[in-house]
Each structure stands twice: as structure tokens, then as C-alpha cells.
């Protein structure tokens, strides 16, 4: 293991390390901690300029209910779920199939199609912006969750295919051959043999896509407008305009917006990291 395990070093180094660790963490997360603390401050603290001192009172409940009561914050949050969850399901389902096709079968254009997915995944998505917006308008799903979901599913399919195909490639191919020898049809092989084996990949990918989509801001601004369809990222930004200098509300909003992906990360940490390193790209 590198660097040298700390338990094998001198006592002073060990102590130093044990002190440095929490200090570094606090410094690293300082901006976030500040936000968290601010989110429980009272409005009075904010107007009085008490940004960094001890909060005069803890208004956890007030602040967090306030953001839901006076603004369409709940709407935004709900929209985020309405966009994120179908996208995760759609993208994973599509890419299981494409990944399977590209990972298992040999045919001439295999690599070409695969590279198309990979390259598409890397393009600066700004280049898609104008046509995709027109397309969404033409299909009549502009400013709806459906419009966002359709686009996200399509775009994420590039990344997910890369991921799934590599994962399937790493599966023992004999499993598929064994099934073929046993007379199992290709579709059943996909369903009964490959899908169960892909469970870890599906989990990893789901978590990853969940965070990507949840955190998307760009497409939310391109394809939706207004509280009845925009997700939380875009919502937070427009609320930022409304909550003028109400930093405690902005902070509380930010915390709520950050919570689902953070929870997701904590609960599914292993899958998440596996996903990142296996897929290796955003």
C-alpha cells in the first residue's frame, strides 16, 4: 500500500495525521458547513450581518418549512423526481439492450456503432441545444417533464452503453455460450442469464445517472420554463432571485436540493464509486 500505512510510522506522525484528518475535512467542507449553519439562522441574523457568528436562534423548522410554503419549491422538487426517475429507468433499460448487443455479438459495424455512442456522449452538448429544442417543440413536449426525460434518456444512453458494454464484456462469455449450447434463445439469454448478472452494473449506473440527472441544470433551462415543469436546480436559481438577501432561505433550499443525491451517494456508496470508475466518464 502506498503511502506507507500510518500505523507503521512513528507515533508523532500518527498523532499528526489523526489531527490533520478532521482539520482538513473541515477546511474542505467549509463552504458547505457555512451553508448548513446559515440554513438554520433566523432572518434577523442575516439582516444584522451575523453571517459567521453563533446563530442567535436555531430556526431549522421555520426556515425549511418556509421554503416550501411561500414558493413553488415543492413543485420543483417534485419535478426533479418526475424527470430523474423515469430517465434512470429509461436509460438503464435502453443501455442494457445496446450494451448486450455490442458486448456479446460480433458483427461488422459493432465497433463503429459503439464508437458512435461513445463519441456522442462526449460532444459538447451545446451543439445539440438548438436542434433538440426545436425537436422538443415540434413534438409538443416542450416545457414538460416528458420532454426532458426523452432527451436525457437518449443522451445518457451514450454513456450507459459504454458502461454496460464494457461490463458485459468483462462477464465470462462462457456463460452465454453455455446457455446457447443448452438451446436457450438469444432473448431468453438476455433476460435469464445476462440481466441477473448485470445487477451490480444496473445498480451502479442507476445511482450515477440519478445524480447526473438530478444535478442537470443546462437542459433544464433549455427545455423547460416555469415552476410547473422545471426541476430543482433551475428552480433554485430562479428562487435565488426571489429570496433576495434571504440567505437563510437560499441555504435551506440548497441543502434540500443537494440532499437526494447526497443520500443516494451515502446509501449506495459502493455502487456509486464502482460506477464512476467503471464508466470512468461523466
Amino acid at each position: 500500500m502506498f503511502p506507507t500505512p500510518i500505523e507503521k510510522t512513528r507515533a508523532t506522525t500518527r498523532t499528526l495525521y489523526n489531527v490533520a484528518l478532521p482539520v482538513a475535512l473541515i477546511l474542505w467542507l467549509l463552504p458547505l458547513i457555512a451553508v448548513a449553519v446559515t440554513s438554520v439562522r433566523s432572518g434577523g441574523d442575516i439582516t444584522a450581518g451575523n453571517y459567521w457568528g453563533w446563530p442567535t436562534s436555531f430556526n431549522l423548522l421555520e426556515n425549511y418549512t418556509a421554503i416550501f410554503e411561500n414558493t413553488p419549491f415543492g413543485n420543483y422538487l417534485w419535478n426533479s423526481f418526475r424527470v430523474t426517475i423515469p430517465t434512470v429507468i429509461g436509460a438503464v433499460a435502453l443501455s442494457c439492450m445496446t450494451g448486450f448487443a455490442l458486448g456479446v455479438y460480433k458483427f461488422r459495424s459493432n465497433l463503429l456503432i459503439f464508437f458512435m455512442f461513445v463519441a456522442g456522449n462526449f460532444v459538447p452538448f451545446q451543439i445539440l441545444m438548438v436542434p433538440v429544442r426545436d425537436l422538443t417543440l415540434d413534438m409538443g413536449v416542450y416545457n414538460t417533464a416528458t420532454g426532458l426525460v426523452l432527451f436525457h434518456v437518449a443522451f445518457q444512453t451514450g454513456f450507459c452503453t459504454l458502461f454496460m458494454r464494457n461490463f458485459i464484456r468483462a462477464l465470462p462469455f462462457e456463460l452465454i455460450e453455455a446457455a446457447r449450447v443448452e438451446g436457450v434463445s438469444e432473448i431468453r439469454i438476455f433476460w435469464y442469464v445476462v440481466i441477473p448478472l448485470m445487477k451490480p452494473a444496473i445498480a451502479a449506473l442507476s445511482v450515477l445517472i440519478f445524480t447526473f440527472i438530478w444535478n442537470d441544470y443546462f437542459w433544464a433551462t433549455v427545455l423547460t420554463q416555469g415552476a410547473e415543469s422545471q426541476p430543482i436546480t433551475a428552480g433554485l436559481y430562479s428562487l435565488n432571485g426571489q429570496w433576495v438577501a434571504a440567505w437563510h432561505l437560499v441555504s435551506a433550499g440548497s441543502i434540500v436540493a443537494a440532499l437526494p443525491p447526497v443520500l443516494m451517494f451515502f446509501l449506495m456508496q459502493r455502487h456509486f464509486i464502482a460506477g464512476l470508475t467503471l464508466g470512468a466518464v461523466k
Binding site: 439582516t47 417543440l137 416542450y142 416545457n143 420554463q225 416555469g226 430562479s238 432571485g241 433576495v244 438577501a245
Partner: protein, 388 residues
Amino acid sequence: GELVINTDTSDPAPKAAFEALIAGFEAENPDVKVTWNLFDHEGYKTSIRNFLTADAPDLANWYAGNRMLPYVNAGLFEPVDDVWEENGLNESLASAKGSMTIDGKLWGVPYTYYQWGVYYRKDIFEANGIDVPTNWDEFIAAGAKLTDAGVTPITIGTKYLWTAGGVFDYLNLRTNGYDFHMALTKGEVAWTDDRVRATMANWKQLIDAGFFLENHAAYSWQEALAPMVQGDAAMYVMGNFAVAPLREAGLTDDQLGFFQFPVINPDVPLAEEAPTDTIHIPANAKNKEDAKKFLAYLARADVQTAINDTLGQLPINKDSQVGDDKFLQAGYSMLSSTTGGIAQFFDRDAPAEMAKVGMEGFQEFMVKPERLDAILERLEKTRARVYK
């Protein structure tokens, strides 16, 4: 039938005003069922393009002047001369008729407008022995006193640029007058013109004297309210909509005052800035009949009185009552006595692209006045492209 209305009136006061407006209309027209889509204020500016083409409502709010030109040119708005004709709006809304006319046709019905000017902290002025300035020298002097007292004379947040446009408008209106200003925003005058330079020289004077809030480029207009509330700044060149948040932040009418932007060049008549908000019928609307009914209703004196009461703004209909709020009264008397002309606003008078580049240039100028020549040349280049 069903009447679909899209508006961007999502802030509390406008929202309440429209709720009441729609309820009133429905009460009078029980056969009409109104569907009201409320949009986020910023997002509306882009979404209107989409819904006008893709999924048009029967009514949509927008702005007068150049701002509606692209939609008129693209044939997305319906001319409503007949509504004006049948309801005698040519008289009652006469003051806004000019800004609603393009190619000789009328494209919508205005329902509100509001004055711009200087909002100031009366108490701070008094504490420093400053009288309301009426001309340039007094204005400069007032600033000097405030600076000496450690108070920033003018607060401003230029992160979203348009606030700087307001300042420019006033300086230019006062330096060169309304006609020149309109010619400039219509692209008929070069930005490198000496008259523009004169305006900018006046502006530079303020900048050099430390009139404006430091780091204004980091703030939005709302964030810039804070120094004024906290007493670190004394004036704000703003529209009347700033009053509500200032009051909400705790300033009383004793602390807050309003005055007309002071005279710079005594030879030009005083012109003012007063943006007008309007409602239009999209060309692709389905229920134009009821939409016209709604417009007629909206144009009525009593309706405009009510809606502007809630909005805290001025009605267009000359028979309407102006609310007795002191700022409204001040604005009303200022605007109705204006002889120099009424401008909409920089980004409504000038085409969008020109406005963007222009306001960006103003912001840059406010921080880096020494770059004036480069900025003006850039604007001139844009002018050459935009108005071709």
C-alpha cells in the same frame, strides 16, 4: 369558451393583481372559463417565443415599444385596432397609443406603467443637511457630502446589466434630450457621436466622484437594495417596483423619498422613463373572440384602477384613479407634466442585441471608464450589424 392566458406575473403583487383581474372578468362573463398559466419572470422572456409559435395561448402579457417588434414582424401578434376602435381606447389610452403602434396598426392593450427616478433615504439626506438636488451641480455636491459622511451616494447592482441601462437612459435624456435618445436607440446615430461622448463624460464625472456602489458588478438589483436599507447608500436610480421590497425590508415612508432625476442640460426638456406593460393576442390564438372581450375589460377605467392599486403602479386609462400612495402620486404628477417625452427603457427601445451589447458596455464603463473609446467603438460595430 375557454380562454388561456399566459403571464409572467409571478411576484407577489402582480400575482395578486392578476388573480383579482381574472376573477372579475369571469364574474362578468360566466360563459368564459379562464385558464391561467403563470410563468417565472426571467424564464418568460424565452418561453414566450416558444409558446407563441408552438402552443399559443389566447392572451399573453408583454411590453410595449421595440420589445414587441420581433413578434409583430414574425406575424405572431394579432392586430387589435378593432378593440381600440370599438371601446374608445383611442381616447382613454391615448398616452400609450404611440408605443403600441407599429406599421400603423395597434398590437395590444397597455394596462400599467410606472415611473423611474431617484429613490433616496430622506433621513440620511436630512442628517447630512442635503436638500433634494434639482440640477447637476447640486447633485454632484450632494454626492460629495454623502461621500464625506462615508455613505455611498448611489447604490446599484449591475450583475444583470439592465440597471446600468437605466442610468444611461437618464443621463442621455438629460444631456441630449428625448429625440436624440430615441434616434440613438433606433440606430440612427453613431455611438461614437460627440453627443454620446458628452453623456458619457457626465457619467464619468459621477464615477470619478465615487458615486456608485463598489463592486456593483457582483450584485443583482435586489442585492443592491441591502446597502440602502442598511444606511450605507443613499440613492437608487430605479423603477417604482423597488419601493415594495424596500418597504418590506423595513424602510418607512419617512425614511424613503423620491425625486425626479435632476437637470443636466437646461436646454433640453425633461423627458422621463416609464415602461409600459401590455397584453396581446397571439396570431395563433384559438379563442380570439373572448380574448378581445378580455382586452376590452382590461382597458376599462375601473379595472385599471383596481389592478394598479394592487400592483402599486400607474394606470394607463386617463379616467382611472391613481392610488394614493405617495410614490405613485409623485410619479403620476411627474409623468403627466412631462413635456420632453416618455421613453420605455433602454432594452425596450433598442433591439435586443444592441441592448445586450450596450448595457454590457455601460457596465464595463462604470468599472473601467478609461476604456470609453474602445467601448463606444464596439457599440458602433454592433450598431452597424444589428440595424442593417
